[in-house]
Subunit: 212 residues, 2 copies
């Protein structure tokens, strides 16, 4: 599946739509429909869907058919658990390995978040939020850890939080918490960072659960 292939185009498109909840979870994806919609052969669509199956974004129905994996209330717990495990793990590694330039990158992301919230760019702020967490993974310098993070549908869960940011309070809290984590990283203080990160994730789960 080369980056310039039709299958890859379809793969990216469907993936994006799933991750951004433009396709509701539980939806059945009809190969033919997507082939028509994207004007490619069913073969190309099938290949894209099969890959997404491998990435656990889709599941097979009992009697065949691709369905968007649905998120149950139980999954919120699962995702918080694994998210904490992976992010705290990444934090430990990142604190060992991070350079001053990279700390500056994190700070920049925090600033971007602040500015976008002030400017009313809430989707942008949400992106900066995700980026903050993904950057910590990146700075842990462990390819597999990043893969695990992505293939755990964490980004999916994260985007759902858009809906959570109902009050301006939430944005301000997020901002404060990110900066607390950042400071711990700057000081190479794993214990403080772990504490701040866990509190941050815990609040996120609570916010997500309250709105179900």
């Amino acid at each position: 599946m080369k980056p310039d292939s039709l299958s890859y185009t379809v793969y990216l498109e469907v993936r994006k739509k799933i991750l951004s909840h433009q396709i509701p979870s539980g939806t059945r994806l009809i190969e033919g429909d997507w082939a028509r919609k994207m004007d490619v052969s069913r073969t190309a669509v099938r290949e894209a869907l099969t890959r997404l199956l491998g990435e656990h974004l889709l599941v097979m129905g009992e009697r065949g058919g691709y369905y968007v994996k649905s998120i149950t209330a139980d999954n919120v717990r699962e995702i918080r658990e694994i998210r904490e495990i992976l992010e705290v793990g990444a934090l430990r590694l990142a604190i060992e390995k991070i350079t001053d330039e990279e700390v500056a990158v994190l700070e920049k992301i925090c600033d971007d978040f602040t500015n976008m919230v002030e400017g009313g760019y809430l989707n942008g702020a949400c992106e900066a939020d995700m980026k903050f967490h993904e950057s910590i993974l990146l700075f842990s310098r462990n390819e597999r850890l990043m893969e695990a993070y992505h293939s755990s549908n964490i980004p999916l869960f994260h985007l759902k939080l858009e809906e959570v940011y109902s009050h301006m309070d939430d944005y301000e809290l997020t901002d404060k918490e990110h900066r607390r984590i950042l400071e711990a990283i700057r000081e190479r203080d794993f214990k403080a960072g772990k504490k701040a990160l866990k509190a941050h994730l815990y609040r996120g789960e609570m916010a997500a659960l309250n709105m179900e």
Copy 2:
């Protein structure tokens, strides 16, 4: 990809061969060759390979082509890092949630390991070794955590350890270490379990590195 489909058959076959190192890492998989070998159409093979791509067992070459993901020396570090993160995380959850029956299952696996080593069934012992670790993941009751474990190619790395078990000492050490972890679980003592598990994994990495 229904369980009775040809694609699924091919998927299972290729997957098994990769995980058991019957196909060396870095090998290019030619669609047509597998189609002939398994007597199915190239379409079915392609579908199987695409799924394995999604599962990160295969990667694409620069100019197309499916290759078995190779394990570099650097990966050994990466895998040990993520393995520790995931297994320690799973251990914490498992200790919270495990039932007495499940503790008994773990004990049975330890006994099986002992018996197979004594009987000279070294491959079987290796399987029991894997099973011990996977069971802890299972008892953590987090589907995504298990998925992350599997999609990090940890089982692949693990099987490579077959080669490591050169001396009978290694088996005895493994046995002792497993039982130490088991005891900690039985006592619901996370700190002791974590310590034993980390030591166990660390020794595993050392053994793996020595033989490169």
